[in-house]
């Protein structure tokens, strides 16, 4: 599901030319993920946008940080509760407005959701698919 979402997002990004920074964080969630280990070249190629930088978070430290710092309602939009009752942030997309910084606490996104495959559809409608947009648009 994640990879389908990544590919759908890549198609959307190919129609967008704003000064957008894309941070891709890969993490182990499923048994299949653990078998794979480090994301492979084939997987990393799913998001080929030159504005992207890709990270691998095998211990899910960012998910844990977000679960600790984000307000409950925000967390609910980007996380699922795993079998042990712990929020797990994955298969999600979040947007942060210009000027927002990550200091003592993880910043609250201006927009986001999960799963990515569904969020891409919503983002498609939100952006309206213009060839280029100013990145100061509210909510971006």
């Amino acid at each position: 599901m994640c990879l389908r979402g990544a590919s759908a997002l890549q198609q959307l990004l190919e129609r967008d030319s704003t000064r957008l920074a894309i941070i891709v964080l890969w993490e182990h969630v499923t048994v299949s993920d653990r078998k794979m280990g480090i994301p492979t070249t084939r997987v990393l190629a799913r998001l080929s946008d030159p504005r992207a930088r890709q990270f691998w978070d095998p211990q899910r430290v960012v998910s844990s940080t977000m679960a600790r710092d984000l307000p409950r309602d925000t967390l609910a939009s980007v996380a699922e509760i795993d079998s042990t009752g712990v929020p797990l942030v994955w298969d999600c997309l979040a947007l942060f407005r210009p000027g927002v910084r990550w200091d003592d606490r993880f910043p609250v996104p201006s927009w986001g959701g999960r799963p990515v495959i569904d969020v891409v559809d919503a983002l498609n409608r939100k952006w309206g698919n213009p060839p280029a947009r100013a990145d100061t648009t509210a909510g971006r």
Binding site: L20, I23, L25, W26, P39, T41, Q54, P98, W102
Partner: protein, 80 residues
């Protein structure tokens, strides 16, 4: 002597192929395995894949803050 050496080389090659066979087998998804399934290279011109852990999460935070002049999109994905 040369014949024995060739036999040893053949045996070594067979042992190597046998050892590598499991990693070359098709993954659970059923697609054939190729070089792109054995390496971890990001698409150019992206920088190399960076590993984040409890001691290195600051790298991600610094990257996030360094790009605070623009909208940032954070994607959190599992690789399968």
């Amino acid at each position: 002597m040369a014949r024995l050496s060739a036999a040893r080389r053949a045996a070594a090659a067979l042992a190597l192929i046998t050892a590598l066979a499991p990693s070359l087998a098709p993954p659970a998804g059923g697609t054939a395995t190729g070089p792109d399934d054995l390496t971890h290279v990001t698409p150019p011109p992206q920088p190399p894949l960076e590993v984040i852990g409890p001691q290195t999460i600051g790298v991600l935070r610094d990257h996030f803050n360094a790009l605070a002049d623009r909208t940032r999109m954070l994607l959190m994905l599992s690789p399968t």
